[in-house]
């Protein structure tokens, strides 16, 4: 069933290539329909834990290639939410791509990517995981850069890092396979645990290979530079997919493979170094997450491009989730998974609203925008709720998961990690509200006087996402109860949670009450607004100039929009400290390779005489080598 639905989706993608450009909405409606049926299919698989499918492929030498799918609570939750979110994005794309250049290849590859997405989550063994991981990486190249020169430059960071990570993972998988002779995940975890006891350096090497594979994909340090490049240059609607869904694969892999391994070690191992009751390795990874979130926060504060800012915010959020996952407590893992889901929802909302802004204004630099709130109210509201959730303000869903992360960090006695997360969370306020102010509030540039709200079809996914944010915020149990079954399937202690209330060791939160408090205060303010004095609407500019005629001073609306270099004083605070530029490091590496390449190329086109010299010299070298060894 799973495989046939995949083949069906791939066939649809192939057939859709023949739809003419004039009727391209048919193509995108087709994709939405396929995604809807896939979402429904996954929904029906709820509770069918252990349902598996196997499909044999080639076997070369000792390796039997086969595709194995299995439904587990973890895979179900991830695949259901991601497919549902892709469905809502695809609704947005129907109108958005009406006049998009190269929408044909974007759509074709995107549908394949959605298939890979589900397959990654449903894969039952490491080889299947790797197959779809690799396919996902390759296919996403063409969606991020569908023949656009600028996005090609941006995609390279993503592509090369992902490929290197995937190859590292491949080596890790086969090191394990040469010992365990199976690709089954549980047996490989057990095998790796045994290896930790017998041959610790090799086991650490293998774990490190997996960590490289997962961390490059999820953009944790020091691979954190690719989202800013790739998310900002990708097609606008695809950015939300990239940031909401695709960046989570690494964390999914960590939850699937690394967390059970570390839990195993912390429970049974006598030989491994521990710190704070968790393995040292895991503690280091948690720190990597925390550092990533702080660094990403500072970089987000600096950025002026709205998509880039949202991309850095994504990296920061991935950092929280990683920290929370790697402290290995039930609360932490549950909080991590919950935050991943929540982030997928609110970041999709944020990117969709930014895509809507760009759809109408064709502008990405924040200082050129402003005051769009009255022009695009639904988009504004989506963005507002999105950043409220992202900043972790109650009563939306981001608050619930951040609360859990803080609780797990504090109850696990990780005060420094908690401080770092607090720091970057506070920083998140800075850049998120700056984005809100620069794009939607402030002065509307006169060139955008005619901007309208996006078409209704594009608003539908925004409504859906807003509703999701609110519902999960009020009833965190809708996600946390499935998360509990994940914990159960991973043999971890379940957390205490009902539909409405979350409990931790330290306190508990009743989400509807929090919601009512907030709703009450809003209602109170609204009542005051109604019963207050009658008021007169003035232009924004009048407010800004306190009644003076701006034309007297030669001032325009654009000049009153204070958005460029918004946090310059804040940035100057860090001038004294040395800085490393990771991107520059990668760039210089690339330059060195290219120089070497030119050198080699020159050698190859040299005269025949030198070819003969080198030939002879190499033979002599081999003889000398043979002599020495012999």
């Amino acid at each position: 069933m799973i495989l046939y639905s995949f083949l069906f989706a791939l066939l649809t993608a192939l057939l859709s290539l023949f739809i003419r450009r004039e009727y391209n909405y048919i193509r995108w409606i087709l994709y939405s329909a396929v995604l809807a049926s896939l979402t429904f299919l996954i929904y029906t698989m709820n509770g069918l834990w252990g349902y598996s499918e196997s499909f044999k492929l080639l076997s070369v030498g000792s390796v039997d290639f086969s595709l194995n799918f299995k439904v587990t609570p973890l895979s179900w939750l991830f695949s259901f939410f991601t497919t549902g979110l892709s469905l809502s994005i695809s609704l947005f794309s129907i109108v958005k791509n009406r006049h998009e250049e190269s929408e044909r290849s974007i759509g074709f590859f995107w549908l394949i990517l959605s298939v890979c997405n589900i397959a990654i989550f449903l894969s039952a063994d490491l080889l299947t995981l790797f197959i779809f991981w690799e396919a996902m990486t390759f296919v996403s190249f063409f969606v991020i850069s569908p023949g656009w020169t600028k996005s090609f430059k941006a995609v390279n960071y993503y592509f090369i890092l992902s490929i290197l990570g995937a190859f590292a993972m491949l080596v890790g998988i086969f090191f394990l396979y040469s010992k365990s002779a199976t690709f089954n995940i549980e047996s490989n975890i057990a095998q790796l645990f045994v290896l930790y006891e017998l041959n610790s350096p090799q086991a650490i090497f293998i774990t490190l290979m997996f960590v490289l594979g997962f961390f490059t994909k999820s953009a944790l340090m020091p691979f954190h530079i690719w989202p800013a490049e790739a998310h900002s240059e990708a097609p606008d609607d695809f950015s939300s997919y990239l940031s909401g869904i695709m960046i989570k694969y690494g964390l999914y892999g960590s939850i699937l493979f690394l967390v059970p391994l570390f839990v195993f070690i912390s429970k049974f191992s006598q030989t491994q170094p521990m710190s704070n009751h968790i393995p040292l390795f895991s503690h280091i990874l948690a720190w990597v997450g925390a550092i990533t979130s702080v660094v990403a926060t500072f970089l987000a504060v600096k950025s002026n491009d709205m998509k880039r800012l949202a991309a850095w915010s994504t990296v920061g959020n991935i950092g929280y989730a990683a920290t929370s996952i790697f402290i290995l407590s039930s609360m932490g893992v549950a909080g991590g998974i919950f935050h991943i889901i929540n982030h997928a929802i609110f970041k999709t909302a944020i990117f969709l609203s930014l895509a809507a802004v760009k759809y109408r204004t064709h502008e990405r630099e924040m200082h050129r925008l402003g005051g769009l709130a009255y022009k695009m109210p639904v988009t504004f509201l989506t963005f507002l709720l999105g950043i409220i959730a992202a900043a972790g303000i109650p009563p939306l869903n981001g608050y619930a998961s951040k609360w859990m992360i803080y609780q797990s960090l504090l109850s696990g006695r990780f005060p420094f990690l908690a401080t770092m997360i607090f720091l970057s969370s506070t920083g998140a306020f800075m850049y998120l509200f700056r984005a809100l102010h620069s794009v939607f509030l402030g002065q509307l540039p006169s060139k955008f006087d005619d901007v309208k709200e996006v078409p209704f079809l594009m608003q539908i996914p925004m409504y859906i996402l807003m509703l999701l944010m609110v519902i999960i915020g009020i009833f965190p149990g809708t996600v946390l109860l499935p998360v509990n079954s994940i914990l159960k399937s991973m043999n971890m202690e379940e957390i205490k949670v009902t539909y409405t209330t979350m409990y931790s060791m330290l306190s508990s939160v009743d989400a509807p009450i929090v919601f009512l408090v907030f709703a009450g205060s809003f209602a109170f303010a609204f009542i005051l607004y109604l019963i207050g004095k009658p008021r007169r609407h003035v232009e924004l500019l009048d407010n800004y100039t306190a009644g003076q005629d701006p034309k007297e001073f030669g001032l325009t609306r654009e000049m009153y929009h204070f958005a460029l270099k918004f946090y310059e004083p804040f940035e100057h605070m860090f001038d004294k400290y040395p800085r490393t530029n990771t991107k520059e490091f990668y760039d210089s590496f690339e330059r060195k390779i290219n120089e070497t390449g030119s050198f080699i190329k020159k050698f190859y086109s040299s005269s025949p005489r030198s070819a003969v010299y080198i030939f002879t010299l190499s033979i002599v070298l081999i003889i000398i080598y043979g002599w020495l060894v012999w």
Binding site: K56, L57, L58, S59, V60, G61, S62, V63, F65, E101, S102, I131, F132, E134, A135, F138, F141, F142, S145, P146, G147, W148, T149, F152, N156, F159, I160, I163, L164, F167, L170, V171, F174, F175, Y177, S178, I593, N594, G597, S598, I600, K601, F603, Y604, S605, P608, S610, A611, V612, I614, F615, L617, S618, I619, I622, I623, Y625, G626, V629, W630
Partner: protein, 506 residues
Amino acid sequence: MSYNSAILLIAAPLLMAFLSFILGIFNKRIPAILLVLTLSFNFYFSTYLLTLVSSKGVLVSVISGFEPPFGINLVLTYFSLLLLSLIYLIILSASVVFVSKKTDENTVKVATLLFLFTAAASGLLLTGDIFNMFVFFEIFAVANISLISLKKNKTSLKGSFKYLLLSSIGSAFLLFGIGMIYGTLGTLNIAEIGLRFYELSPLTGAFIFIMFLGAILSETETFPFNFWITDSYKGARNFVNILLGSASSVAALYIFFRLFFTIIGYPINNRYEFLISMDARLIIALISAISVIVSEIGALSSKSVKRILAFSSASQMGMILFAFSISDFNSFSAALTLIFNLSLSKAILFLSSHEIMKGAKEKNIESFTGGLGRNPVFSALFIFGSLSMVGFPLTLGFYGKISLVASAVSASGYFSILVFVILLASAAELFYYFRLMHKLFVSEQNHTEKTKMNWFYAASGSLLLAVMIILALMPKFTERIVSSAAGDMMDKTTYIERVLKAEDLK
């Protein structure tokens, strides 16, 4: 037809080479048509022999009544016939491309050269006699050199001259090695040499090993010996590129196997060791790993498409040699999968890139711009070819690469480190293939004019693509041929037994 008529595989193209000269006087189309017909016959006959061999085991075809080890004999093994069928398929597709060209004064000569090429390749893969192999090696080199120089411009002549120099040094080395063997063991039969190689003194063994290395590494496009590749590929005509990149490489790999495994190697514990006192596997593995790295970096900064493909070919050959150097059943299976992938997809890449770039002034990566809109069929072919080349999941290249990693990691020690290095280097390969594919998607207007679709090219490309898809999507079939061939490669004992007791089989 019985297996004793296997000599037809060599004789038919040789005969046609002479005939085409005479018939070419009347009509220049005749040699071209004869070429396609002969190759179809050869392909059919070799697959027939393949089925025969797969049921009966190694067969020996005795020429003119001299029993082995005396006289010349043809040894039909599963491995050699499989590669031979592959080579015929490639030459067939290359000659379809050649036939589509307008006839000129060169047509007859080129057809003769292609016949010669076919005959030499058949001889190389079928013969059981090492001196005979040397002779065919020379003919093969001559055919290659003349084919490369067809274009008669500076690059082409330089390339063919480089190839001439390096391959003649190589064949001199081979001759030295063969002379040494003949002087010490007194035989030229490969099976008998393989049987008695241990009788040689260690120094002689090492000497012969070095001679063989010098002989073959230039043909297998391994780094310090392959300085002919860029100019030759760049200067040669399109169908010659297909032959060089696919058919010649496969033939070279076959010679490599016969020289180093059937002659110097001996199977022990499901693995080949070498009958010389130094660690030959490490030397080969090191050279091939260096070759992969250097060629990948070289390709990365190249702008000319043909040069990129040449470097990529060298790196793939390095990977296959690396798989050979691990030398157990799994790595041979991986090597075979990689050989299939390399020969089929490289042919597709050369063919389709030529059509995509047709009409552009400079044949570099910029001329790929907007290929998908301009030339959708060949762009699709190119994309399929390069996806298989870089190992997109569930293509032949993927199976090959993954099983290579698997076999290298399970082999002890340095192989796992080297395979890691090779994998990292092959990330570069991904980069430049994706750069080319990206250019196809670019929709900017460029000045390349739209050219007419060449149906012969499309037919030839889709033939290769069909074979590739069949191999990737028919697990049972591919599994059977790969495991039979790998089993055949591992089974040196049967080879020797069957050849030296040929009379028992009649």
